[in-house]
């Protein structure tokens, strides 16, 4: 190969993009030609000079993008998130599709108490500096993202006057309290879903169970309600849980949620369930759910209706 031919190939040679036979020709030439070798060195120097100038996205940008994507998808999906599906799997899909539904509006006093609690505990987590000091109004803070990792830790990103990231083990009491508050985060269904997902594995605590029950009853997002129901599975024999489930069954607008509640209620023999199922049959307009109720009542040797 001539010097001109080799110099034309040097960039591709450097990036390992030459065909093997051409690469071999370039290498043979380079061994014998110091001027082409110097050109290759210049190519390497260029690459070395450019390498440090790769930009890394700002630390919070990824979490913000994910958060905004959730909102954008919700805006797209909102008109469709209604009881339109006719098959049982479609009903579940409907529920999952609307997992990002924002707009939860819990009572303000409860929210304020939760936020104050978050401030108190977060301050204990980060001893130096008055991060959540009394001069900062509690309502200036909101939780933006909750991210568990494979090591059992969870990272919670929250906004006050500026965002701060707190991380700790999921079983850490303070982290758990932040998660309990995050499960009530008003405007971010993604945060609520993630928090409830983490909390549901620790539903043995009465406080956690209370939050799950509250989510099942009041969260406007069916995805959050479904996650909370998963967490209550282990307590489906508990009287308070069953009372809440009965209420949910008769009032929840999401068929996927109603189906899951039926599964939880019929998992235990309980005469009060019969009345609830009979009432539901009388008002239910979904064929599949009516069929589930009828099957459950037959299995309990109960009549299908109230007379």
């Amino acid at each position: 190969m001539t010097c001109d031919a080799v110099i034309k190939e040097l960039a591709l040679y450097y990036y390992g993009e030459l065909a093997p036979e051409v690469e071999e020709g370039v290498e043979d030439h380079l061994q014998a030609c110091s001027s082409c070798q110097a050109e290759l060195d210049r190519q390497r120097s260029l690459a070395v000079m450019l390498d440090p100038h790769e930009l890394a996205p700002p630390p919070d940008l990824l979490a913000e993008c994910r958060h905004e994507l959730v909102r954008a998808i919700y805006r797209e999906e909102a008109p469709d998130v209604r009881r339109a599906a006719s098959d049982p799997w479609g009903l579940f899909r409907e529920a999952f599709r609307s997992i990002w539904h924002p707009g939860i509006r819990f009572a303000q006093p409860a929210g304020a108490v939760a936020l104050l609690a978050m401030g108190f505990f977060a301050a204990r987590l980060i001893p130096e500096g008055r991060i959540f000091g009394p001069s900062i109004p509690a309502d200036a803070m909101s939780i933006r993202s909750v991210q568990p990792d494979s090591t059992g830790r969870v990272q919670i990103s929250l906004d006050e006057t500026r965002r701060r990231v707190i991380s700790g083990r999921i079983d850490d009491q303070n982290i758990r309290r932040l998660l309990l508050a995050a499960a009530r985060e008003q405007d971010n269904p993604g945060v609520r879903v993630e928090s409830v997902q983490l909390l549901k594995d620790q539903s043995s605590s009465a406080e956690t169970r209370g939050v799950l029950l509250e989510a099942v009853l009041h969260d406007p997002n069916p995805g959050v309600r479904l996650k909370a129901l998963e967490g209550l599975k282990a307590f489906s024999a508990d009287a308070e849980v069953r009372r809440t489930l009965a209420q949910v069954l008769l009032k929840d607008q999401n068929a996927g949620v109603r189906i899951q509640v039926i599964d939880l209620l019929i998992a235990h023999q309980d005469p009060t369930t019969i009345g609830v199922l009979q009432t539901l049959i009388g008002k239910e307009d979904n064929n599949y759910i009516r069929m589930r109720c009828q099957n459950a009542l037959r299995a309990m040797n109960a009549s299908l209706g109230t007379f």
């Binding site: 591709l12 993009e17 190519q43 913000e64 993008c65």
Partner: protein, 205 residues
């Protein structure tokens, strides 16, 4: 060693299977699977957009638009290419549009608005902390400006190929697939890009 390699190949195969299963789940409407898919790729998408556009705000726009397009169109994905290729086609198209618009505007503002207020683009290139040697900081700033200028001199397509090959480490064949062109055309782009960079930065190397 061989076992490690076999394990790695096997892990990749499993991961491909997982990905295919996740895509099919998303096509059936499974939102959790969509989230898994996004999280598998979104860091590299954001990094690519950030480097190509040198602006956090533009990178954020690209991220949103790209994944919304994925969300809207994943039902049309037929597995006739890898998901990575399909996604990167979307991302690179959006980035190319941004780059072309910038060229039409001719002038790119040196200061951009960000969530943290106005930021000078060139600040991104700063490599040293505030306590660093002032001369060295000055040199790095000047070097950053020269590199930015050299990158701006590339056509959007050259810029894209250079970014994907040099910074993202993609092979030219894969780059050709993503950009809907041949490997040969991608090679020519890379060649022209490096020639231009050397012409602008030649006195520094």
């Amino acid at each position: 060693m061989l076992q490690d390699a076999a394990g790695a190949v096997s892990a990749r195969a499993v991961s491909k299977l997982d990905e295919a299963a996740a895509i099919r789940a998303v096509q059936r409407g499974d939102q959790d699977a969509f989230e898994r898919l996004v999280r598998a790729y979104d860091q590299s998408v954001l990094r690519l957009a950030m480097n190509l556009l040198r602006s956090a705000e533009d990178a954020r726009d690209v991220y949103q638009e790209a994944f919304l397009r994925v969300y809207r169109n994943i039902h049309t994905f037929r597995f006739d290419c890898s998901f990575h290729t399909w996604l990167y086609r979307i991302v690179t198209n959006i980035c190319l549009d941004h780059l072309r618009k910038r060229r039409v505007r001719r002038e790119e503002a040196a200061v951009v608005d960000t969530v943290d207020g106005p930021v000078d683009r060139m600040d991104s290139f700063e490599q040293e902390g505030p306590g660093a040697d002032p001369e060295r900081r000055l040199w790095n700033n000047q070097l950053g400006i020269r590199i930015e200028s050299a990158l701006c001199d590339l056509t959007p397509r050259e810029r894209m190929v250079f970014e994907l090959r040099h910074y993202q480490g993609m092979r030219l064949r894969a780059i050709g697939d993503v950009l809907g062109t041949s490997e040969e055309a991608a090679k020519n782009c890379l060649f022209r890009a490096t020639q231009k960079m050397r012409a602008v930065l030649g006195d520094l190397i």
